[in-house]
């Protein structure tokens, strides 16, 4: 049997891989996609989408809690977490089928199995013990990443959950320890707190969401503490003792060591690239710190091999993977005007309550980069819509270069800010200055008026504060 040959083969069916395959097919490549588990990858099956489905449940729990404030009283309220998980899984399954349909519609050959490089432009795909070889002029690795373990603490799926177990619980934990105050950790802390669990959040750095602007982190921590989440920063979980009925954690922090008891632990201390068993070592493909090394268009050091998405390094975001997919394929196809990824223009969203969204440089990063800056701040407690929906905790912070007027960064915390950050993203892409943003008309009453006011504040002319 002759070896089947493709112009483009993509390994991994997540938001990087399936987008690369579709864009490739659109451009006329004879395209195949290899996936070992589920089309849609972690994002659709075990990440973004199912967690957002669960967080909708948390929102409802929160709304119910404050219903009395709006004049509603009720009794006999009950909650079955299995139904919430069911909803989450149903959404994931629906989207996975959607991706399968897109593959079919675009004439993409979907190959089930685990792929590894046999040589340059040669892939072995193993499926149910049988290995099939494929030739491809261009191979894109989009194999994603998985949760990282600590040297002393590892995910066991029972006492210690990773994100995957944390989004499919059979029962609600009583006392939960979340290790890691990054985006994934704070989302689960927020979720389980809203659902009624007693949550302790431990972060090794000085503040939770350490990648965000310091002002945003401070507000997030304040909101978390107000909600009853115990936040331990500058703290490290040294060890877990799982011998008893409850898990005992040894946590060292600024005030010394303490032993705390939990019935459940979630480990969310970052991720590591899926670079194993791909045949990278024998072909001397460059990796660093667990991720593939690629240029701004995804090209690796190996002829005909490209890497995009989580496996190609941070930021580990679905939309970054999809964007890299498009520029990688368009670059191969010689499409005019393709620009390499600008990591300062990748928005980041965290779906805790209140939500956090940002794009570009923080104030500290902008200063460190040598910019003389102009900063605008606007608190949501002066925003009519935020008050009307009783979610007036929040801040919009804008950072401009004082000389060029370039929007270096925008940082938001508050209700639905994840839906608003794109406004700043577009402004950044169009290289708008604070003046164009100041001249734009923002609708009233909206939470997004705070974006406008923040820009006005950077010019010292905010109207409502």
């Amino acid at each position: 049997m002759t070896t089947q040959q493709f112009d483009l083969m993509v390994v991994g069916g997540g938001p990087g891989g399936y987008v690369a395959a579709i864009r490739g097919a659109q451009l006329g490549f004879k395209t195949a996609l290899v996936e070992k588990e589920h089309l849609g990858g972690v994002c659709l099956n075990w990440g973004c989408i199912p967690t957002k489905s669960l967080l909708r449940g948390a929102d409802i729990a929160h709304t119910l809690k404050e219903a009395e404030h709006f004049g509603f009283t009720y009794d006999n309220l009950s909650f079955d977490i299995k139904k919430l998980v069911q909803h989450s899984r149903a959404v994931a399954s629906k989207l996975t089928h959607g991706v399968a349909h897109l593959m079919q519609k675009n004439g993409i050959t979907v190959i089930d199995g685990s792929a590894s490089l046999a040589d340059k432009c040669l892939l072995n795909v193993e499926h149910e013990g049988k290995v099939t070889q494929y030739k491809a002029t261009h191979i894109i690795l989009a194999t994603g990443a998985r949760a990282r373990n600590l040297p002393s603490i590892a995910i066991d799926g029972d006492r210690v959950w990773g994100a995957r177990e944390a989004m499919t619980p059979n029962a609600l934990p009583r006392k939960l320890l979340v290790i890691g105050g990054g985006a994934i950790g704070v989302e689960f802390a927020s979720l389980y707190n809203d659902l009624g669990t007693d949550v302790t959040l431990v972060e090794a750095e000085q503040r939770i969401t350490p990648a965000e602007d310091a002002d945003i982190s401070a507000l997030a921590e304040k909101a978390f503490v107000q909600r009853g989440i115990k936040v331990l920063t500058n703290s490290i979980v040294q060890s877990l003792d799982t011998s008893g009925a409850d898990t005992s954690a040894l946590i060292s922090g600024p005030k010394g060591d303490q032993h705390l008891e939990f019935d459940q632990v979630i480990l969310a201390v970052g991720i590591t690239g899926n670079i194993e068993n791909l045949g990278l070592e024998s072909l001397k493909v460059e990796t660093a710190k667990g991720f593939l090394q690629a240029d701004g268009f995804g090209k690796t050091n190996l002829a005909g091999l490209y890497a995009i998405g989580d496996v190609a390094g941070p930021p580990w975001l679905a939309h970054k993977a999809s964007h890299e997919a498009v520029i990688c394929v368009e670059k191969i196809a010689g499409v005019d005007g393709v620009k390499p990824l600008n990591k300062d223009q990748v928005p980041g969203c965290t779906y805790c309550r209140p939500q956090i969204a940002s794009v570009g440089l923080t104030e500290a990063q902008a200063k460190a980069a040598g910019h003389s800056i102009r900063v605008g701040r606007f608190n949501l407690n002066a925003n009519g819509k935020a008050l009307a929906i009783n979610e007036a905790e929040g801040l919009v912070k804008t950072v401009f270069d004082e000389n060029s007027g370039e929007l270096l960064g925008a940082h938001m915390i508050g209700p639905e800010v994840t839906e608003q950050i794109q406004g700043f993203g577009i402004a950044q892409q169009l290289e708008a200055t604070e003046h164009e943003l100041a001249q734009s008309i923002f609708a009233h009453p909206t939470v997004s008026e705070s974006m406008h006011e923040s820009v006005l504040d950077s010019l010292g002319i905010a109207i409502h504060q």
């Binding site: 006329g28 432009c121 002029t137 072909l283 002829a303 196809a333 010689g334 499409v335």
Partner: protein, 493 residues
Amino acid sequence: MTNEIKPINMPKWGMEMSEGDINAWYFAIGDQVNAGDDLVDIETSKIINTVTASDGGVLRAIIGATGETHLVGALLGVIASAETSDAEIQAFIDSNSSAAAEPEAVAEVAAPVAAAIETAPAPVAIPQAANGLSKLAEGEDDSLVAASPVARRLAAEYGVNLNNITGTGRHDRVSKWDLEAAVLAAGGRLIGNSINKSNGAVQFGDDSNVKATPVARRIATQLGINLLECRVSGDRGRVCKADVEAVAALKNKMPAQTDGSSTASNSTFESQPISGMRKTIAARLQASKQTAPHFRVHIDAEIDALLEVRKQINNSNTNAKVSVNDFIVKACASALMKVPAINVQFDGEQLSYFSNADISVAVAIDDGLITPIVTDANHKGLVEISNTTRDLATRAKLGRLKPEEFQGGSFCISNLGMYGIKQFDAIINPPQGAILAVGAGEQRPVVKDGQLAVATVMSLTLSSDHRIIDGAVAAQFMSVLKGYLEQPATMLG
């Protein structure tokens, strides 16, 4: 007030273009057209390109219907003001059709007619009516003018040079508002206003102003359907075929069948007009065989040493995936430098000697064949040749090559080794002087020092144009080429 009538002619893109196929019109008769608008797609030998409007006005007539073939210079359509009478338009068409010959009548005498058209005077355009809008178009490169992205794009659509617009934005930047004010002041009409204008009280009245695809308009006419009845789901806001068919289905009007005289339905073949690319392939290969006396020389080369070097290069350099074909390109480039009499183009009268080896590599694509060029192959290393070839082949298959990337070349290589073909003869790609046909490298018995041995052998055949390349020269080239392939290290010198 102006009664200027402007012709849309079949353009001449490149020396070899003598005719073009009308692929698609972007406007229908009666549409308002602005200078710079895409008017019609023309398919030529190997590319599809778009003719843009040099002036604004109303598209009053389409002479070159979609699917037709017309000679270079032929009248395809007419743009004039809405006030110009139909009689004037007709007179213009008549006078122009007699100047540029009837498309059907000239097929056999294409060359002289094309020559005549090139020297024909420009038709009736009345120069003194250069209006304000065309003044706005004049000026030097405006890429440095400060303008908003929207203003810049609109300027391109209106055909306006931004040097002529006074910017009132911050730092005197030209805004959309500035541009539109200038267009209006010059007597122009804003894009997008033509639809509103005709939408007054008319209901199912004159549909000539409705934007529709040519196919949709023709079917609508055949079925007696008014385009104003149809929804608009086509691109560029046009009524498309599906829209007309939807109305037809509603009214129980099936799309008209072709005349009853059509052939029996149980035929075992399907007739299809050939593509522009297929026409080019057909014409060029036929011309080559008819005009160039092909003289062939054949040689076998042992490539075991080459395969070993290839393995070493690919193992030592991660960014190299050098193929046997890449070696052949490199070896040919070196051999062409040694035997420059092969590195030539010949147009029947003039012989052009090339100082660099621009090697065309034949790539099979879905609907034909294209020959992207590895330029300066004599100055490129193997890895560079390899990566260049992979990029060219990738884009060739996607139809994304630029004309300069496949037009020209001083020598051609056609390799059918991957299909297991042992040996074949290729037809010279004119105006080149020679082509190398490469077969599969395979293990064959060979006799060495009176002993039978096994070697990997590849058969190579050079077809050369015997008018300009003598047999001994072709033989010398093949002998040098064989030397490079059998001792690849000698290419480095």
